[in-house]
């Protein structure tokens, strides 16, 4: 046994194709398991010793039975008992050693993989997360990795050791009497054949079952997050019906899985018993012919009994191995996903950004949008001079939010470029780019942390409490009109987010706005940040925001004239292009589309005159 053993886990399945398949997948765990390999090897060695010791005990019995007991001599009984006792204690000691060597390093492997998965998921672009429900990701991060850890520190070790034990045991059986040994060996063949059939069937079912539970978890999440809708329409029972049919599918898969397991159990129990029955008859016959001593017969059955657990466990260990293979596949599904938005090999640095943001012939289309559709952004040209506040106006779905997401590379342009101070945003490290440009989203996400931590999220240097940090916090809260946080149970230290106080949509938007402001960026990108505020609060926020915007370049997605008023200039996004840029009044005068998009004044006047007419 060497420390390289895990690279070549001996398999009990003889078919090369199937073996290499599962084998190659599991081999990919090597980089994570590498530091634990020496201890894994030592653990296997201890386990093997334990097995050999267990196999030695029947030999002592044979000596005793054939020597002393058959002659009625009691003298050798004590030494024999003490030898058995000694070997028994040694076996227990070796098993303790195996656990000590192997199990704790296994937890390190699990942790390493979990951290790697998390880091990878954070690195992957938003387009990836748009596609993958968080339930699917979660089951990979928790149960799949758990399974891999248990396999490495338990399944793999026992699989290797039990396999070797079976070989050693069969050799011992053969050396005692070749006929009995051959019977035992021949009877094991159906197990190996069935093992192959089992893999084929089981790995497919196991994967389906894992996927279906992931889907079921997603259904649960949706039924909870969408509870208001379900309640409003009284669709609880409707949701239950679709949930139940999904659960029903999972149940079908699980029962299919149980059938496969029952199949392998059948063989694993049947074969040793048939072998024992045949060995009993032939063993007794051989003894009657004088070809075997009674002591050897006793030792044969004692040895065969020791081998029973290793033989039976192979089935359980195999199914564990296939489950692990599936789990490993799922893990690498994510790690193998190529990251399309990465840091450049030779990043450029902007030491003191002035904040000139330019879109140059920017094209963008979502990867899954059909060919017959034109690019969502079809050649956008727009320049924001340093310190300028630009409002971005356009119809719902015209690509405003997508355009803002391009600035910090949440998505990458499919053609053209976005530049900051003349530098392509793709030439900067993402971390630096996002330090220069801060965003507030309409859909405000707060994390399970204090209000303070949420607001100062973009200022890692303020992680520790300091007067500067307090000042930045206070100013940002003041600008965003988020004074309400002082009335929360623990003021700015109140926990918000999923695990904390639930805030209203407007409150969350204000905290998120404060967060963008507190980041003190060169460029501020605000995606309709005031939509959930009432009129009074909105005008207060706008007044305060003006001060910040005087010195900061800002791109603001606007739906309302009041938001547009914050801007120096307005850009109109229409059919994937910027069709007009100018001050609000210029556009109002020259662009019918702008008037259509932003002005409700005429509607209002028409309605008022109608009402006046009715009143008359």
């Amino acid at each position: 046994m060497t420390t390289t053993a895990p690279q070549h886990p001996p398999h009990s399945i003889p078919t090369p194709a199937a073996r290499s398949n599962t084998f190659r997948t599991l081999l990919r765990l090597y980089p994570y398991a590498k530091p634990a390999l020496p201890r894994l090897g030592l653990g296997m060695l201890a386990a093997l010793l334990a097995s050999l010791v267990a196999l030695a005990i029947p030999q002592v019995l044979q000596q005793l039975v054939d020597g002393a007991l058959s002659q009625g001599d009691t003298a050798p009984i004590w030494p024999a008992v003490l030898t058995v006792l000694g070997l028994g204690v040694l076996e227990a000691g070796m098993i303790a050693l195996r656990r000590w060597f192997v199990l704790v390093p296994g937890t390190h492997i699990e942790s390493r993989m979990r951290n790697a998965l998390y880091a990878r998921l954070q690195d992957l672009p938003v387009t990836f997360h748009d596609r993958w429900p968080s339930g699917q990701l979660l089951s990979r991060a928790v149960s799949d990795l758990n399974m891999i850890r248990r396999w490495i520190s338990f399944g793999l070790v026992l699989l290797v050791v039990n396999f070797l034990t079976i070989i050693a045991g069969v050799v011992i059986l053969l050396s005692m009497n070749w006929i009995l040994g051959v019977i035992f060996l021949v009877c094991s063949i159906p197990i190996w054949i069935y093992g192959y059939v089992f893999e084929e069937k089981y790995s497919v079912i196991a994967r389906r079952s894992q996927d279906q539970s992931g889907d079921l978890a997603t259904a649960v999440e949706e039924s909870v997050h969408g509870i208001r809708v379900l309640k409003a329409f009284g669709r609880g029972s409707f949701a239950l019906k679709s949930f139940a049919s999904q659960a029903e599918e999972l149940r079908g898969t699980e029962i299919e899985k149980a059938r496969a397991i029952a199949g392998i159990w059948l063989w694993l129990l049947l074969v040793p018993d048939v072998a024992f029955a045949l060995c009993l008859v032939s063993g007794v016959w051989l003894t009657s012919q004088g070809q075997l001593s009674v002591g050897e017969l006793v030792a044969f059955f004692a040895t065969a009994t020791v081998l029973r657990f290793p033989v039976e466990s192979i089935g359980f260990l195999l199914s564990m191995t296939f489950d692990t293979r599936t789990a490993t596949d799922r893990f690498f599904d994510i790690l193998d996903t190529p990251n399309t938005i990465t840091d450049p090999p030779r990043p450029v640095t902007i030491t003191s950004p002035r904040g000139r943001l330019a879109f140059e012939n920017v094209h963008f289309r979502y990867a899954d949008s059909p060919e017959r559709f034109p690019d969502l952004l079809d050649g956008v040209n727009l320049v924001l001079e340093p310190g300028e506040t630009m409002a971005l106006v356009g119809l719902t779905g015209s690509g405003k939010s997508t355009l803002t997401a391009l600035t910090t590379r949440l998505y990458d342009v499919t053609d053209g470029s976005v530049t900051l101070d003349g530098v392509d945003v793709r030439a900067l490290r993402r971390d630096e780019l996002r330090r220069h440009i801060a965003m507030a989203f309409e859909d405000a996400t707060l994390f399970s942390a204090s209000v303070r931590d949420n607001v100062l999220l973009g200022r890692p240097e303020f992680a520790e409490r300091s007067p500067q940090a307090d000042a930045a916090l206070a100013e940002a809260l003041q600008i965003a009109q988020a004074a309400f946080v002082h009335d929360l149970p623990n003021g700015v230290d109140t926990l918000v987010g999923e695990e904390g106080m639930s805030l209203s949509g407007g409150q969350r938007q204000r905290v998120a706005l404060a967060r963008a402001v507190a980041a003190a960026p060169a460029v501020l990108v605000l995606d309709d940040p005031l939509s959930a505020l009432d009129v009074n609060t909105e005008s207060l926020v706008e007044a305060a925001l003006r001060r910040v915007l005087a010195s900061t370049t800002a791109l603001i997605v606007a739906h309302r004239p009041s938001t547009v008023m914050l801007a120096d200039r307005v850009a109109l996004l229409e059919a994937g292009r910027i069709t007009a840029v100018g001050t609000h009044s210029e556009l109002l005068a020259t662009s019918p589309h702008y008037k259509f998009v932003i002005s409700s004044l005429e509607d209002e006047e028409r309605r008022e005159s109608e009402r006046a007419g009715e009143a008359l």
Binding site: A92, R99, L103, Y118, F233, R259, A302, S401, F447, S448
Partner: protein
């Protein structure tokens, strides 16, 4: 403090009485889950008993073969040996077949129990009031239905099987040993003492650790899910590195707890083997002398040794049972707590049917408070005439949404009654209530599935043309056909690529498809752009003409289509009248309206 329902769920310091109360509740739940499958359980038990007995017969047959078959064979009598061999084959085959059958049977039972439990928790989740959900948080109710159910699944899948088979195996092995050789049986009985002591020690030590392990994994999950659902903010504010630090710490503390659990097994498992091996040596000792004396046959000694050794075989796997049992018990305790919660807004016991509703809503001496000291809406009465369009105006926190939630029966009033066509909402059949009254909120949640599926939530049996008509009516049709797959476009997780405004249009279409007598719009147009809002307003004017509507909006443009305006402040309706009347007055609304008029261009 009480432990009824989900109260005190996170506490670790239950008193004896509280623990007993929680355990009783879990057991009751377990009983009610097993009751429907009781006959399958009986069959499975019979199968496993017979199969285990068949499995245990082996060593005794070997003993018989050596002690009786061998001497007979020496006399040229094949019968005893052949009979032993045949019986061995038959028991072996029977045992294996029955175990295989039992595996499928027990999977059927555990899956039936699981699906029952899944449905019950799901249904209860839907039944519990919004108030409950707001305080219990979505993360916790989700983990009740996912990780807790997984813990129970694990117990049912393997834990119970191992326990039942293991216990039976040990019992039958013990019985066989006693029958074979009483003295060896006595030795085994003595060995039970350290065995039980070791098991007890393990149980006590592991209980605490498993709890810790579950807490550690829960915080891990929260951090993970939050990062993934808030990935845009994570990236925009460059918190990846810091998150890795936080997550790394959580991973490490989870690892440490796990390592401690594993170390516990590292003592328990070798301890079991030690006890087993010492017992084997003892049986050999007491047997050896008797064989030498001729009091015991050699085959019987062999069988005694085999039985003794095999007696301890299932213990290791049974010890793993504690692992799954502990977490499943904790999970069941929490789930039973959720199931015990009384819905704050319960369905009526004897529901009143209301086939067609006129849409007359009446607040009769209503007061609403969270706790007695937090009155949100002080005592008031109000009548909304059928067909009226009412605008609710006031600043954030004035109580507008609470009023709306009382009409839609998301909440029940603390005092007084809310009536629809003279029927107390609490007596109204839920299906009639939900058909008559629909509320659209600002947070327009989309479920995974197609756009058409999402609109059809308003009326599941709707045809495609009805769905399209509803979308057309609210001006959503144009953007929907512009989506890659039109009405069949998958909206992905949390409405992925559909913008906030588009989500609102879809949820509008959903409401119009439902065609309720009373429609409540709570900030339902906040994310729409002006042209869309214009379309919606126009649609509203025709669509609301024959139904009662309550509209809450910050933008006063909505007020224009209202027949009546209610201005709210601190939970009190301070102004009530037609828009013209209020605008021309000097009250709060007149000032608000003037300010808003200014902001228009």
């Amino acid at each position: 403090m009480s432990v009824i329902g989900v109260e005190g769920e996170e506490r670790l310091d239950y008193t004896k009485a509280e623990s007993a109360q929680i355990r009783r509740r879990s057991l009751r739940l377990l009983g009610s889950l097993l009751f429907p499958v009781r006959w399958s359980v009986v069959v499975a038990m019979l199968v496993v008993v017979v199969s285990t007995a068949a499995q245990v017969a082996g060593p005794a047959l070997i003993a018989y073969g050596i002690d009786k078959g061998l001497p007979a064979l020496l006399e040229q009598d094949w019968v005893p040996l052949a009979a032993t061999g045949v019986i061995y084959l038959v028991t072996g085959i029977t045992g294996a077949l029955l175990i295989a059958w039992y595996t499928v049977l027990s999977a059927r039972i555990s899956q039936a129990v699981l699906i029952d439990l899944r449905k019950r928790v799901f249904l209860q989740t839907q039944r519990l009031s919004l108030e409950f959900h707001e305080s219990y948080t979505s993360g916790r109710i989700i983990s009740r239905q996912t990780s807790d159910l997984d813990a129970i699944r694990e117990l049912l899948d393997s834990g119970i099987n191992q326990l039942v088979q293991g216990l039976l195996y040990m019992a039958f092995t013990g019985i066989a040993l006693v029958a074979l050789d009483g003295v060896s049986g006595l030795v085994l009985l003595v060995a039970l003492v350290p065995l039980l002591a070791l098991t007890r020690w393990f149980q006590v030590r592991s209980q605490h650790l498993f709890r810790q392990s579950r807490t550690a994994s829960a915080s891990l999950i929260v951090q993970f899910v939050e990062t993934m659902t808030g990935i845009r903010a994570v990236k925009a504010f460059r918190t990846e590195k810091r998150n890795e630090g936080v997550f790394g710490k959580l991973v490490e503390s989870y690892r440490l707890v796990n390592a401690r659990v594993i170390q516990l097994f590292g003592v328990f498992d070798p301890g079991l083997i030690l006890i087993g091996n010492v017992t084997v040596a003892a049986v050999l000792l007491v047997g050896g002398f008797r064989v030498a004396d001729g009091q015991l046959a050699i085959g019987a000694l062999l069988a005694a040794l085999l039985y003794t050794r095999r007696f301890f075989d299932p213990m290791e796997e049974m010890a793993m049972f504690y692992n799954s049992y502990q977490s499943a018990a904790a999970a069941l305790e929490k789930i039973s707590g959720v199931l015990e919660e009384q819905p704050g807004v319960p369905d009526p016991v004897t529901p009143v049917d209301l086939w067609t509703s006129k849409g007359a809503v009446q607040f009769d001496n209503v007061q609403f408070e969270y706790q007695a000291d937090r009155v949100i809406l002080p005592h008031f009465s109000l009548t909304l005439e059928p067909g009226q369009t009412i605008a609710l105006v006031g600043s954030t926190g004035a109580g507008k949404s609470t009023l709306a939630k009382l009409i839609s029966r998301f909440y029940d009033p603390s005092h007084g009654r809310v009536l629809l066509d003279g029927v107390d909402l609490r007596d109204l059949h839920p299906k009639d209530l939900r058909r008559a009254i629909v509320m659209v909120t600002q947070e327009a949640y989309l479920f995974s599935g197609s756009v058409a599926d999402n609109i059809a939530i308003g009326k599941p049996e709707a045809t495609r043309s009805e769905i399209e008509a509803a979308a057309r009516a609210v001006g959503a049709h144009d953007f929907i056909v512009g989506l890659p797959g039109g009405y069949d476009t998958d909206v992905n997780k949390r409405g992925g690529r559909v913008s906030a405004g588009q989500r609102q249009l879809i949820s509008f279409a959903r409401a119009f498809l439902a065609d309720p007598a009373v429609l409540i719009l709570d900030e339902a147009t906040s994310s729409l752009d002006i042209p869309s809002e214009r379309l919606v307003q126009e649609a509203l004017q025709t669509l609301l003409s024959d139904r009662t509507a309550v509209i809450i909006a910050h933008r006063l443009s909505t007020v224009a289509i209202a027949d009546r305006v209610l201005v709210m402040e601190n939970g009190i309706i301070v102004e009530d009248g037609t828009p013209d009347m209020l605008i021309s007055g000097t009250g709060r609304f007149a000032r608000l309206h003037a300010a808003w008029r200014e902001s228009l261009v």
